[in-house]
Subunit: 356 residues, 2 copies
């Protein structure tokens, strides 16, 4: 009994003219089998899937990996896999072009003389871009937990505290509320530092009337969330209020165009054109968003030149920002679920400017 995810994958083997796929990307192994260990290869044929791991994971693999055969290798897992390939007399094999190391490729090439080895580009990443029902449920839970963390962290934002203290507390709240940990390094950037789009928290102190940019996500049941809010520690001058208003307008405009069928770049273009109207074209230095799932950055990318069309079931961030040296930066980010006629905003945290 092969799982629905494996069944969807297997449909691509015959058109690619291969008998089997060697899956080496660990998030892809997890997606297909549920196994979360740090050392694994998966061999998928049209009839079965075999998971290869090492002795440390014997118990865990038996518990986690459902519907696949588990083979615990005594030495290197790739040796065990090649043994299985030979016993099954498989001759035409695909491997993951973007996940396999050159080392793995060369080991397969040398150990499987006579086999045709075909590199496949991002096959699983494309399948994973469209989430199934259990994944959407898991992403909802992750987003909700992350929003609760944000609300619990807000009272701790006070002048005199260090960015690093706030970041540490946000990550502690994630764990205390049941998350596995942060999905990426939490960003807390106050005052001038909010103008650095990838600022890491420093020992700088939060000050009265600062803009504070908070970008954090949690992992829950393996699934990531991602949210950014920018708040004010007291009164903002009119320039920074206008900056906030422009970014919020861009974010809402981008969300408004999301629906199945449009090219991903169109969402990015929408955010960009609003910011351009406000004279902030040069201040928006990154893409508008990205897919989220088992990994924090997945397909599709919502950026310039991205022709991929959105499909119902994709879950993406919408996160335009504007960064002005000497003034500060604002980014506002939600996760949305693409639907046939539009999208559902999964992130329920309000977006009006919060003055603490």
């Amino acid at each position: 009994m092969i799982s629905p995810r494996l069944a969807r994958l297997v449909e691509h083997l015959a058109p690619a003219k291969v008998q089997a796929l060697i899956v080496s990307g660990l998030p892809n192994v997890r997606y297909l089998t549920g196994f979360t260990g740090s050392n694994a290869l998966l061999l998928v044929t049209s009839e079965e899937a075999v998971l290869f791991t090492d002795g440390r994971y014997k118990t865990q693999a038996a518990q986690e990996a459902q519907g696949v055969k588990v083979l615990v290798a005594r030495g290197a897992v790739v040796r065990a896999l090649m043994g299985s390939v030979k016993r099954r007399r498989l001759r035409r094999l695909a491997f993951e072009r973007n996940r396999a190391t050159f080392d793995l490729y060369r080991t397969l090439r040398e150990g499987l003389a006579g086999c045709w080895l075909k590199p496949l580009s991002s096959l699983l990443e494309k399948l994973r871009a469209v989430k199934d029902a259990p994944e959407i449920a898991a992403l909802r839970r992750s987003v909700e937990l992350n929003s609760r963390v944000f609300e619990a962290a807000l009272p701790r934002l006070r002048p005199g505290r260090r960015e690093t203290d706030v970041a540490a507390e946000i990550e502690h709240l994630m764990r205390r509320k049941g998350g596995q940990g942060p999905a990426f390094d939490t960003i807390v950037a106050a005052g001038q530092r909010s103008a650095l789009p990838h600022a890491r928290p420093t020992h700088n102190l939060l000050r009265k009337n600062d803009l504070v940019l908070l970008d954090h996500g949690v992992i829950l049941d393996g699934y990531a969330s991602d949210m950014t809010r920018t708040v004010a520690l007291g009164n903002l001058d009119s320039d920074r209020r206008r900056l906030y208003g422009a970014v919020l307008e861009a974010q809402l405009a981008a969300i408004a165009v999301v629906r199945a069928g449009i090219p991903a770049r169109q969402v990015d273009q929408q955010a960009r054109s609003v910011l351009e109207k406000h004279g902030l074209k040069e201040s928006f230095v990154h893409s508008t968003g990205h897919g989220v799932g088992l990994e924090i950055h997945e397909r599709p990318r919502l950026g310039r030149g991205e022709r991929t069309r959105l499909q119902a079931g994709m879950v993406v961030t919408i996160e335009p920002g504007a960064y002005v040296e000497g003034l500060g930066g604002v980014r506002i980010e939600d996760m949305v679920l693409v639907t046939a006629n539009g999208c559902e905003v999964l992130t329920r945290t309000p977006k009006d400017l919060r003055v603490l």
Copy 2:
């Protein structure tokens, strides 16, 4: 002016019959340049080193990367690198066999027609196994911070608390005391669960008279630490006291044989023979240790069959354990610095059984 680390690397280019090395492993890029961004390639020739990254890291690369030329790519960094290779008319290039993806290899192969591309195995990992003075200083600080975290966490180990709560507090202490975060997922395993060598914290409650295994490490200034202690929440029966004593004896015996010149497997063999004497041969299911540095698992591996000889300046863990189903598990782990005549134990936390 080329740095000492780059100079050491460059010495290996001519013997390998190449004009340049393409470094794609991010920890290796960091080791050679100081750059900590998430997207980079480094081209090293005997005269210079050029770091390629993208626009997000323009400011950061200029601040962090010392003694190398920084080139901010407009598109893919590999395209920018290939442009530089062509302008310099380089024809014989090495790349990292164990770090390059097949994708990177194929892109280089197609974009640099006429170039000889030579896969090199673990060249930088071998250099990095022997730490230089700034690295040893950084590792000392990381180990000391990790020990302070342990001492601060001990009073929080009480019957009725969940393993996950304790793990979350340990990781919060790391941040509060100035660390960048955990070097790996913190292990807190109580009672029967201590018998699982790679247990992840669960919602299980700590109970009176439990053995509790704590394995955690912090990252400070980029460098990892790693320590395990097993403590008792009250009185232990004589079987578990004997288990503790056997593992401690094995750990001390392994430390006693460490010195420059011996094969790494000899340290492992020493720990193993002590446990065998206590009838625990089958209960020690992993290797005795591993190198630690910018990454939590580095060379050398202290395990069966490992012929690598220890060198002065290597920093490794010594962490034998014994896991007995129905009774519990004990692991005791220190980090040690290999010296010409022996070793210095960097971890100062006491190892006598602590009864809380």
